[in-house]
């Protein structure tokens, strides 16, 4: 698949940073405004898809590999499940800690004061403990998963064109 016309490329160059920063904003403020990890990830993946469609798959060969995107997706899933299990694991070290799976351990608990301090330091902008971190994890999964679909499709069309 070759690139599209110069008009499309110019509009893409102008619109790409705005769309991407709006998607990251939806992820980062997902616990306060409508949105969250999935919606923001979809918007960021849309901006990447815009570049892919405008510049064509010949241009994008060698710049992004789907193996790296697979690593990013796995990293997001590991972060999500790890944040969930930290709430369980902390029971082993602090017997008075009321832990459970997906326990919000960064805010509103008395046994481990250092985590409350960390949460307070971050919470000048975010007041929700581990929920923004989980939104970022889900966003990583969605960005990598949706962009790799388009990338594999573009690769398939490139192979057909080479013959």
């Amino acid at each position: 698949m070759s690139g599209m016309s110069r008009i499309v490329k110019t509009i893409t160059n102008v619109a790409f940073p705005f769309v991407m920063i709006y998607g990251l904003y939806i992820i980062a403020r997902g616990h306060l405004i409508p949105g969250g990890g999935f919606q923001g990830g979809v918007v960021v993946a849309s901006s990447l898809a815009m570049v892919l469609v405008a510049y064509g798959s010949i241009w994008i060969v060698g710049k992004v590999k789907e193996k790296n995107l697979s690593v990013l997706e796995s990293l997001g899933a590991i972060c999500f499940i790890g944040l969930g299990f930290i709430g369980v694991i902390l029971i082993l070290f602090y017997s008075s800690f009321e832990g459970s799976f997906l326990k919000n351990f960064l805010i509103g608990q008395d046994t481990i004061p250092i985590f409350n301090e960390i949460g307070k330091g971050i919470s000048n902008i975010n007041t929700a403990g581990i929920i923004p971190l989980m939104n970022f994890s889900v966003g990583m999964i969605v960005i990598a998963g949706l962009f790799v679909i388009l990338l594999v499709m573009a690769y398939a069309t490139r192979i057909k064109e080479g013959k």
């Binding site: 898809a49 388009l150 069309t157």
Partner: protein, 86 residues
Amino acid sequence: MLEDTMINIVHIVVPILIVVVSIYAIYLKDLIAAAIAVSAMSLLLSLEFYILQAPDVAIAEVGLGAFLTTAILIIAIRATKKEEEA
């Protein structure tokens, strides 16, 4: 009062526009134009979601329906050739 009237008018106009744009998507001969019509239908659908006070669903719809589906369709269309040129 005026606001309620405006919202009622929009509730009538937007579904009619969705139907009209869907008919365009069927009857247009150019494939990329038909893909853009599908994208416009999805955009109007997300506007309808927003009026029905579901902004969360509207963001997901405008991302997935109006953008990613169109990107997939355009990639697939540009990998083919027209019947007259083949």
